[in-house]
């Protein structure tokens, strides 16, 4: 408990690492201050009345001389005015935070059960890590391939849902180098709490260097191949093998017949399910031999494995989303 406790008291808060963060904090602390005064005042008044006007106290209780209507209108007006002030302040910061600045660096972020798939402008791709340059405006274009996710970086005070079928933008300007949490904040299924990652804020020069270092996709698939050997997937699924098991090339994106007569598309969710719960969708013509790898393969390895399977020669899945529509729900 001590490291947590130390954190809680030494470096309180989620960190302040974007241009919007201090503005949000200022509103928060102001409202908190006003609230503390009001709550404290009420608590004091209540306690004072409880003691002074306890049932058998001799305190005098003359009739009230102020008109109640006057008192009531006073506190109705005061409350309304203060609330309207908070509203305008909060809304103005919000509108600022919602308006993406021109010329921002654009990065595509796709949520998928249960990972963040991030593509930079030059095609470099990374998973659950987002490298960004310090001090530059960055615009994220968010979408989802399956359910609703939410891209949340506490240190930036940034949160935006990634909604399937829509592209929504969010922007920030990082003001401090370092590594910060990414959380998925909209409940998205089994491994919702595993859908986390890091934002790495680099000085612009190092960011440019990082960006040029090549496509992370290759690293990922290479690592996936290594894992494929390590977990001995290759023992059955590489040809030739002693066991009669499906070949995995040309699998991703194809339609797969199952032993109970259904047709499934081999998408990410299918691959994932087939590794974790192999008995769920047994491919037609094969025995249900494969053991479950649930709680055996950790989440990060699973992503690499799937990335490797996807890199094998095969078909790409058809683009998701509705066909042509005359008035699409606007982005």
């Amino acid at each position: 408990m001590s490291p947590g406790l130390a954190f809680a008291f030494s470096d309180w808060g989620p960190g302040t690492a974007s241009s919007v963060a201090p503005r949000v904090d200022l509103i928060f602390w102001t409202i908190l201050g006003v609230s503390a005064v009001v709550v404290g005042g009420l608590a004091f008044a209540n306690l004072y009345f409880l003691i002074r006007y306890r049932r058998n106290s001799p305190a005098p209780r003359p009739p009230l001389r102020i008109k109640t209507a006057w008192l009531e209108s006073a506190w109705i007006t005061a409350t309304t005015v203060i609330f309207l002030g908070f509203f305008f302040w909060g809304a103005s910061v919000y509108l600022f935070a919602e308006r993406p600045p021109a010329g921002a660096l654009t990065i595509a972020v796709t949520g998928r059960q249960w990972m963040w798939d991030i593509r930079h402008e030059n095609g470099r791709r990374e998973f659950n890590e987002l490298h960004v340059p310090l001090g530059e405006d960055v615009r994220l274009v968010l979408t989802s391939e399956d359910v609703i996710h939410s891209f949340f970086v506490p240190a930036f005070r940034l949160k935006q849902d990634a909604v399937p079928g829509r592209r929504v933008s969010a922007w920030f300007r990082a003001t401090k180098s370092g590594t910060y949490h990414i959380f998925c904040a909209e409940y998205c299924g089994t491994a919702h709490s595993g859908m986390v990652g890091d934002v790495v804020v680099l000085p612009p020069a190092r960011y440019a260097e990082w960006l040029e270092r090549g496509n992370a996709m290759e690293d990922l698939t290479q690592r996936g191949r290594r894992l494929f050997l390590r977990y001995n997937c290759s023992g059955c699924h590489d040809q030739p093998a002693a066991v009669h098991a499906p070949v995995l090339t040309e699998l991703y994106g194809a339609m797969v017949p199952t032993s109970d007569g259904r047709m499934l598309r081999a998408d990410d969710a299918y691959l994932r399910d087939s590794i974790l719960w192999p008995q769920k969708d047994v491919v037609a013509g094969y025995e249900p031999l494969m053991p479950s790898f649930q709680n055996v393969i950790p989440e990060s390895d699973l992503l690499d494995l799937i990335a490797y399977l996807k890199s094998l020669p095969g078909r790409q899945p058809p683009p998701a989303g509705p066909g042509e529509s005359s008035r699409p729900l606007p982005p």
């Binding site: 809680a8 009230l64 359910v147």
Partner: protein, 542 residues
């Protein structure tokens, strides 16, 4: 009748009519009863049962969250636990808690009527509620549901592999029991008031119940149709909420929150009404600004329908809609603030005594105020973006629903307990329980505000280690809270059979319910009472 309040009613000549508990002792006399008081108790048993289930789920979650890793239960189980906790607490405990138990029990007594307007519908509503509960229990026993109580699409409609249909059906059915109860109360309050009980003399609990009933009747059907659409979508594979088939998942959120935000007021408005009654009774003073407090109940009921979009500030709804919903949310906070100020002003120059109901009422004021000011923070757009879907929101709505609604429910149970069973609960154990609940509650949920601002998202089974200290504090508080809730269960059950006999009016309170015997006679009043004064006609006037 210049000061009828402190004088117990003149004994009715002739043989005493049997009280409602003595009117029949068979199981049939309970399960087929048309008596609103017995139906209220049937609801009390049912919701206590569901509360226990939901609290058990919460306990497991809190134990799991002691460590950052997921070591007690798997994430599938954890997701089912919080769904179970949410669905059961919201629809099978909080929504029926004060309205269907205390409301059923005291509304006819408070307005001087023999029963509610439609007694058969009232009994039917309990059976509908239980049927909905059975569907929900079936879904739980078969393996549960992992969507969260909010059933967000397209997860619930397409992706979830759990028993969404059974649970949605359970909530759908229970909704009709809400509608029946609300309809009954509206007509009862309109049509069955005793002679002389004008709207301006209506106790504040009845004003709040009237407003609550309007919400029950007008919001619940929208939830029903929305859940029906999810079930149809799962059955037939059509895409009303699925973007792959042309649907819009945000439509679900609009329809869902159109019900579920007002539903928050279904939980808290009756609590405010109970607290108004208790404060007046134990300060021996009329509630300060009666008209404004009554009007604020109605204002909350109506304005509460206009603010649902504040649950969707980061959902990708239009920025402008967000601004409008934020403004309206601030406006709905004004009448709540007025109530808090009025309660405090009521204490001023009163004759205050601190029996258990008053302790709960004071606890309510404190906790509800904290929930209220954090609600103001959440209505502020820029702050909401950061803290929505984090533990900050979890803490906020528990301050409103547990710190507010449950505290008021406990206060109301203690306040009307003598009327329910004709006996007093033991005072000192009850006071200790009230304080235990108050302390345990704060220790459980205050750390969650901090956790939320630090960024810990809700519905997380595993979490980064820096959040552990506060989670441990919260779990420690939850264990105290759990003990606090067990105590009333024990001593109230005991006092139901063995408690000290209570007279018709043990608190010296005003209100028609105190002008008849305890426990109330089967038909409430020997003869229809006639009202000649406003409510809270205590000797001290402002």
């Amino acid at each position: 009748m210049s000061s009828p309040v402190l004088i117990p009613p003149a004994p009715v000549p002739g043989p005493r009519p049997p009280d409602y508990l003595a009117a029949g002792h068979t199981i049939g006399s309970w399960l087929l009863t048309l008596d609103h008081k017995r139906i209220g108790l049937l609801y009390l048993f049912a919701i206590t049962f569901f509360f226990a289930i939901a609290a058990f789920a919460a306990a497991l979650m809190r134990i799991e969250l002691l460590t950052p890793a997921g070591d007690l239960v798997t994430s599938e189980t954890y997701n089912r636990l919080f769904t179970l906790h949410g669905v059961t607490m919201v629809w099978f405990f909080l929504i029926p808690s004060i309205p269907a138990t205390l409301g059923n029990f005291v509304i006819p007594l408070m307005i001087g009527a023999r029963d509610v307007a439609f007694p058969r519908l009232n009994l039917a509503s309990w059976y509908i509620f239980m049927l909905g509960g059975l569907f929900t229990l079936y879904a739980i026993v078969m393996g549960g549901v992992d969507t969260g109580w909010t059933f967000y699409t397209p997860y619930s409609s397409t992706y979830s592999n759990s028993h969404v249909m059974a649970m949605a059906a359970g909530v759908f059915i229970a909704g009709f029991s809400s509608i029946a109860t609300g309809l009954n109360f509206i007509v009862t309050i309109h049509k069955l008031r005793a002679p002389g009980l004008t709207w301006g003399r209506l106790p504040l609990f009845l004003w709040s119940m009237y407003s609550t009933s309007i919400i029950l009747v007008l919001a619940t059907p929208v939830l029903a149709i929305t859940l029906l659409l999810i079930v149809l979508e799962r059955c037939f594979g059509v895409g009303i909420f699925d973007p792959k088939l042309g649907g819009d998942p945000l439509l679900f959120q609009h329809l869902f929150w159109f019900y579920s935000h007002p539903a928050v007021y279904i939980m808290i408005l009756p609590g405010m009404g109970v607290v108004s009654e208790i404060i007046a009774a134990f300060a021996r003073k009329p509630v300060f600004g009666y008209e404004v407090v009554a009007a604020s109940s109605m204002a909350i009921g109506v304005l509460g329908f206009l603010v649902w979009g504040h649950h969707m500030f980061v959902s990708s709804q239009s920025v402008y809609a967000g601004v409008v919903f934020s403004l309206l949310s601030f406006l709905v906070a004004v009448p709540s603030a007025i109530k808090v100020f009025s309660w405090t002003a009521t204490l001023h120059r009163g004759h205050i005594s601190l029996e258990t109901p008053m302790l709960y009422a004071l606890g309510f004021i404190g906790l509800f105020t904290v929930g209220g000011v954090t609600g103001v923070m959440l209505a502020t757009l820029a702050i909401d973006v950061h803290v929505t879907d984090t533990y900050f929101v979890v803490a906020h709505f528990h301050y409103i629903m547990v710190g507010g609604a449950v505290m008021a429910f406990m206060g109301g149970i203690h306040y009307w307990w003598p009327k329910i069973c004709g006996r007093m609960y033991p005072e000192w154990p009850a006071r200790i329980a009230a304080l235990t609940i108050f302390l345990g509650f704060n220790l459980t949920f205050f750390p969650q505000f901090v956790l939320g601002y630090m960024g810990m998202p809700r519905r997380y089974h595993v979490y980064p280690p820096e959040f552990q200290a506060l989670n441990v504090l919260s779990t420690a508080g939850a264990s105290i809270l759990g003990i606090g809730y067990l105590m009333p269960l024990v001593y109230l059950t005991w006092s139901f059979f063995r408690g000290r006999r209570a007279g018709p009016n043990p608190w010296g309170a005003t209100g028609l319910e105190w002008r008849t015997d305890s426990p109330a006679p089967e038909h409430n009043f020997a003869e229809t009472p006639i009202v000649t004064t406003g409510p809270y006609h205590y000797p001290v006037q402002p």
